[in-house]
Symmetry: C2
Subunit: 413 residues, 2 copies
């Protein structure tokens, strides 16, 4: 309790403090998410940020478990992880009560998730993430719904079709090509997948050389115009996967979602995807990056010992979308949830001020009373600093006449 060494007011590195202005933006984003996904019948669930570490050992992709998680041993010798993503948790919950739950099941959550990495623009150690998951639909109707929902969320934020695009691809198609056409084993398939994931970050020639190393011959498959590609389409498992993908795009187009296109290089990080994957990206040429995405993961639930269960989900982070909305000027202006400040001229007016506050609250208004007994000028300055819209001054006259005037501070000269 030594007062000479004062405490720092800084937060922990790479996480954020949410002062009311930031909280209001956060609430705006969360509420827009909630409203949109609930319209599609998704219901909310959540869980603790603390999860047994083993949950992430299975399928998240090794890099994440080993280097990028907050994992520690508790005093009971249990290895605990601060969840780095929500999908393993939702799979755990659904697997845990599979018999009691009705399917198709549509769930969403807005958890905070943690990554232990060097903080940089758009990449923090803690962020919140909308997670939308549907279980029990084997058909592509749910692929279409998830992508529609992603589109509707962007529209609900006020984005135009030209502000963002949707890339879509299929792990099923890739896997069919890898195993049937190139006859790659699982290890080589994974290596090639990882390479394709990084394709856009390397020169064409480097990619070609590296791909040939894995495949054992030139890998021309990402060129859909190549003769090899056309030939491969004669193989049923490949053709069917491609037709499935085409039908999803076609249905989306038919429903008015035109900014969607097949991207052969789209992989999405996680190992657990088994079918369609998609990504919403920013079309701003100066910031042409991924905003969010997801895909089908039909095998994940089998890890909990039961049968596999068709599943499709996506995640959308608060940092990325906030940045997108800021750049495009789509965020609402801040005003305090406290709409009224009652300023008191003299202590003797307090009782009446409290009475007025009570009446306004009964009318559903949010009202704070300024008990500082400072000058009215100072009190109004405080209301302005807090972005409180209305102010009511209560003094001797108001007490005597039992009346008061409401002043709109946003309309002051």
């Amino acid at each position: 309790m030594a007062k000479n060494t004062s405490l720092s007011t800084e937060s922990y590195k790479g996480v954020r403090d949410f002062y009311p202005e930031d909280m209001a933006i956060q609430n705006y984003i969360f509420n827009t998410w909630k409203k949109t996904v609930e319209k599609f019948g998704y219901v909310e669930y959540t869980a603790s940020i603390l999860e047994p570490a083993e949950l992430y050992r299975a399928k998240s992709g090794e890099e994440i478990v080993n280097e990028q998680t907050y994992t520690f041993v508790d005093r009971g010798d249990r290895e605990v992880t601060l969840r780095p993503e929500m999908t393993p948790t939702v799979a755990r919950l659904v697997a845990g009560k599979k018999r009691d739950l009705g399917f198709p099941l549509r769930w969403y959550s807005i958890p905070n998730v943690f990554r232990y990495e060097r903080p940089q623009r758009g990449r923090l150690r803690e962020h919140w993430q909308l997670n939308v998951d549907a279980f029990g639909v084997p058909g592509t109707e749910i692929d279409v719904e998830a992508i529609t929902l992603a589109y509707e969320i962007m529209k609900a934020f006020g984005a135009n079709d030209s502000d963002f695009g949707i890339k879509i691809s299929s792990r099923k198609l890739l896997n069919a090509i890898f195993s049937t056409w190139y006859e790659l084993d699982e290890q080589k398939s994974k290596a090639l997948q990882k390479l394709i994931d990084k394709k856009k970050k390397m020169p064409e020639e480097v990619f070609a050389v590296e791909a040939e190393k894995i495949v054992g011959k030139p890998f021309s498959f990402l060129n859909t115009q190549s003769s090899e590609y056309q030939e491969a389409m004669a193989i049923p498992v490949i053709r069917e996967a491609k037709e499935e993908l085409d039908s999803i795009i076609e249905t989306l187009n038919k429903r008015g979602i035109k900014n969607v296109e097949y991207d052969e290089t789209l992989i999405r990080g996680f190992d657990y995807y088994t079918g369609t994957v998609f990504e919403v990206f920013d079309t701003n040429p100066e910031n042409n990056r991924s905003l969010f995405g997801g895909g089908r993961y039909d095998e994940l639930l089998a890890l909990f010992g039961g049968e596999s269960l068709p599943a499709f989900g996506f995640g959308m982070g608060d940092v990325t979308i906030r940045d997108f909305l800021e750049t495009r000027n789509l965020l609402p202006k801040y005003t305090s949830s406290a709409s009224y400040m009652i300023c008191i001229m003299d202590k003797s007016a307090t009782d009446y001020a409290d009475q007025v506050a009570k009446e306004l609250r009964n009318e559903g208004k949010n009202v704070c009373v300024n008990y500082s007994y400072k000058s009215i000028g100072d009190q109004i300055k405080s209301a302005l600093k807090q972005s409180i819209q209305y102010c009511i001054v209560i003094g001797e006259d108001e007490v005597k006449n039992k009346t008061y005037t409401i002043k709109d501070l946003t309309k002051e000269a």
Copy 2:
């Protein structure tokens, strides 16, 4: 990725999973909190669960820092704590931007907080807590407001005045008695305070003996009828503290809050309290326990190097209030936020089903479409399992006639 050792579906020990039914209760509690505190002009803020460990070394009370926190060293050799309570964080935030903030400042948050202790009924390792804090009011108006707000929250949950009581006490009064009447030093004062805190858990005689050991003579002070108590009231600093406490109770009574009483043994755990402390308790004789509470902590902000700042706050946990509401049958019945399920009789009806869903969503309804193509009986069973109220069956006839019937599943025989 070995499938033979399947993953556990259990959560980490002492934390909860929130399936939709539990989430709905959580949302009900959170929304009731939010609505009530916002009426009093409190605005929302939040922060990360990760805080520098040093934040809790200063004033939280030693037991908490040393034995009951989740604290670990990160890879950058920083000591990090999962916040055990929110007050140090709110103090950090206010101290950090004191110049930019308008006062009086009213803030609230609903953070999850962590305690590393053996899980038991009502005591979990993670729980959520409403935190309500007001800064910048030195007078007792804010003591009255905080207790009024606590009362209003209980009423908003549907509790009757007879279901709960409010105990109130004053650290200022106790400290004045300790230092002026008994002439105890800080260490002895703290020891006596801790003893009084545990008074109700020990036989009267044990308390008397232990108290005499600390004080050096019989400690009769908790008997407000004793002559010693009456004599002490002649000392201004003691009398003023008592009068302040009396005036708070009187004002509350005048405003219709009658279930409030002075409890001389009320301490509340934290070291940082400096004035009024209060506690709301369950009047159920079988479960006569503390529900929540708080108090004045005028010195805490000085720890951050600036001046001290008048502050008053309280915290209210979700586990305790949920338990209270369950016991008294005050929780709302669960129905899904998804109000409609559209059941499809045949795949050919899907397009029209999707069209109906779209129309209903445009009317503001929350609608899910059952793409399972199972029997209608199975689909309705799924809706019932999920507590979805309405169902619409779309088959050949509906497609042809472009009409449909809405069935209320809560009114089925």
